[in-house]
């Protein structure tokens, strides 16, 4: 089946920056002033600066396809989504969606705190486009999915935020639209619920639903989607298989060195590679070498290199330094470069990680340079493990215990 379900054709969207009058109290005097003076009129023209939030975006999504949209915050993802779901209209270009579309944009946006879980299921369900009969039919499945049966007649204002999100997601997950837009909602609830959510998404896909998934969680995008696009500053900058687009995103993400001439010593370059040469995507457990070049503008003594690894949320999951590993500090003459190589084994769970590198002098506690996210890389794993570390699990036993063996061991 290769029926096109979603098609964006040269989509442009213009936003106005500058003064926006949202009260008559401000608007009326401004209009009067503008009428009276030419200078005010010129100023008003200047303030009407416009910018393009979306620039010439075109893509197609076919039936049953899972399609990822990747981009930084503010890149235009949300604006694109609002066009897809029909909340905004493009300035130029056309957009067509076939069949019923449902958007899981913000879980529980339609909830009312004073209503019970049951009442909110009906309310939110109709907001998402289901009929009352449909909700009545799916009610038990929804309650079952979120696991909140005993709280279903409690007002949701008494729910924890996790329960709130679970209820919201459960309703959303049962809409069964032809085209489903998901914006960062897979990250609600605890680990078990996330897993259930992801399974549900795979099930939805298996039923032939077209899914558009928007996220900056690269792992979730590559897991779920076959194809993806990357948006940057309102423009479509990459399109292709999701793993490839994710890689391009990481390459773009790497922070450049900036102006280093003022610094006494700085990180000139950071490279990561495994035995197969330079890459940004590695299988869990691979050995990689991280090469760091430190260059000095002025003579520097007793330098050390500090290495920090963060996950995508910015948590420090690992750090070390040449000093702590027992290496002697090094000195540099002006213009000289030292190359420090760390050998590392990536015992990491699948996901996106970043290395941050510091040039540091321990005895006077001076930081010469920080290269945040000097390298971004992506870890894949043939087995399904989650978290930050990969303890490389293997199930070696799974058997029923007879009372006799229990007595033996106990």
């Amino acid at each position: 089946m290769s029926e096109v379900m979603v098609e964006a054709d040269h989509l442009w969207k213009k936003f106005k920056k500058g003064e926006i009058f949202n009260s008559l109290r401000d608007l009326v005097p401004a209009l009067v002033r503008r009428r009276l003076s030419a200078a005010e009129r010129a100023k008003a023209e200047l303030e009407k600066r416009e910018f393009w939030a979306l620039r010439d975006i075109s893509f197609q999504v076919k039936r049953g396809e899972a399609f990822g949209i990747i981009g930084h915050n503010g890149a235009g993802k949300s604006t694109l989504l609002k066009h897809l779901s029909g909340i905004m209209r493009p300035t130029r270009g056309t957009l067509s969606v076939r069949g019923r579309l449902s958007a899981l944009i913000e879980v529980g946006a339609g909830f009312h705190p004073d209503l019970t879980g049951r009442e909110n299921i009906y309310l939110y369900g109709t907001i998402l486009g289901m009929t009352r009969d449909e909700i009545r039919r799916k009610f038990d499945a929804i309650v079952d999915f979120c696991g909140l049966a005993e709280f279903i007649d409690t007002p949701v204002k008494r729910y924890s935020s996790g329960m709130f999100a679970r209820l919201g997601f459960s309703v959303s997950a049962h809409v069964d639209p032809d085209v489903l837009i998901i914006d960062e909602v897979l990250s609600v609830g605890d680990f078990l619920f996330q897993r259930k959510s992801l399974e549900r998404m795979h099930q939805v896909l298996a039923n032939g639903t077209t899914v558009l998934f928007v996220s900056h969680n690269l792992r979730a995008v590559t897991d779920l989607c076959s194809r993806a696009i990357m948006i940057d500053q309102g423009q479509l900058v990459a399109e292709g298989p999701s793993a490839e687009v994710a890689r391009k995103y990481m390459e773009r993400n790497a922070v450049g060195p900036g102006d280093q001439s003022e610094k006494e010593a700085y990180v000139a370059a950071v490279r990561i590679r495994d035995s197969r040469g330079r890459d940004l995507q590695f299988e869990a457990g691979r050995k990689v070498a991280l090469e760091i070049d430190v260059t000095a503008n002025k003579p520097c003594q007793k330098l050390a290199v500090v290495l920090e690894c963060n996950d995508d949320e910015g948590y420090d999951i690992f750090n070390t330094s040449t000093e702590r590993l027992g290496e002697a500090p090094f000195s540099l003459a002006a213009g000289e470069t030292e190359r420090v190589t760390f050998d590392l084994t990536l015992h990491l769970a699948p996901g996106t990680y970043h290395f941050t590198v510091y040039v540091y002098r321990y005895d006077i506690q001076k930081n010469f340079d920080t290269r945040s996210r000097a390298v971004t890389f992506y870890v894949t794993s043939p087995i399904d493990v989650r978290g930050a570390a990969n303890l490389e699990p293997r199930v070696t036993g799974q058997e029923k215990l007879s009372p006799a063996t229990m007595a033996d061991t106990g």
Binding site: N22, L24, L27
Partner: protein, 261 residues
């Protein structure tokens, strides 16, 4: 059927659900429960009685039971009108998260507000019915005018709420203007008095689109006469105009809601 109702038909469940939500919240949060629906009309009626008493003592005539019936009868549609307008004006801005995140016809918000005011109206109607029976106003064939007059009022209300809710989205101080206008509008509308009391000047008061409806209701229910055809036609013309312009303007502005709210 006006064309703007087409997409709404598909979202009928949503409209009813939102109205039900508004009703549920109103009655759940209030200790008084269903008395809530009676509060506003009751206040209007008692204010009206004070005015009537004053008028009676000035003119030296006794206050009649039919006058109580008249004030009660007029208070109810007026409470519906004011309640709808006030509630619907802020209905879009009160649901910002839905307006910016989920796509469906935005007209459901002001319409749901009007529907929930209609619910209050229905609850209070029971009390009005009792008052009318106690006042022994009796029945006549003229009562058949009542549904038509109420439909005209509802049409005017819907048209106006569509305009005001959209206006309040773009200019946040519209709701304050509406509050003030609604507070004093009762003095310019024949609720406490009859337009005919003013003789020639009564004509000016009847230009208020709601006035012919209230006077028509009084004529049909209390006086058992047919409403003045010319003024009823005038109110109907307003209903048509508002129900044309309201949805037109609303539909025209709707695509800008999400980015302007």
């Amino acid at each position: 059927m006006p064309s703007f109702l087409q997409p709404l038909r598909r979202h009928r469940d949503l409209l009813l659900m939102l109205a039900w939500r508004d009703i549920r919240i109103k009655y759940k949060q209030s200790v008084m429960g269903f008395l809530w629906a009676l509060l506003m009309p009751a206040l209007i009626v008692s204010a009206g009685l004070v005015v009537k008493l004053g008028l009676a003592s000035v003119s030296g005539r006794k206050l009649e039971m039919s006058q109580l019936a008249t004030v009660t009868l007029k208070a109810l549609p007026w409470a519906f009108f004011v309640g709808s307008i006030r509630f619907a004006t802020t209905s879009l801005t009160a649901n910002t998260s839905l307006v910016t995140k989920v796509a469906f016809p935005r007209a459901v918000f002001p319409l749901a507000a009007t529907l929930s005011a209609l619910f209050d109206f229905a609850v209070a109607s029971v009390v009005v019915l009792i008052v009318l029976i106690v006042a022994k106003v009796g029945v006549s064939v003229q009562l058949l005018w009542v549904p038509l007059l109420l439909v005209l009022l509802a049409a005017q209300t819907v048209g106006l709420t569509l305009l005001l809710s959209a206006a309040n989205l773009f200019f946040r101080d519209v709701k304050y203007i509406v509050e003030i206008v609604m507070m004093f509008a009762i003095f310019f509308t024949p609720v406490f008095y009859e337009a005919s009391m003013f003789g020639r000047w009564g004509t000016i008061l009847m230009l208020n689109p709601v006035a012919p409806i209230l006077e028509g209701l009084m004529a049909a229910v209390v006086s058992h006469q047919a409403p003045d055809p010319m003024w009823t036609g005038y109110a109907a013309a307003w209903a048509v105009v508002l129900l044309t312009i309201g949805p037109l303007v609303f539909a025209r502005l709707e695509p800008m809601f999400a980015e302007s709210i």
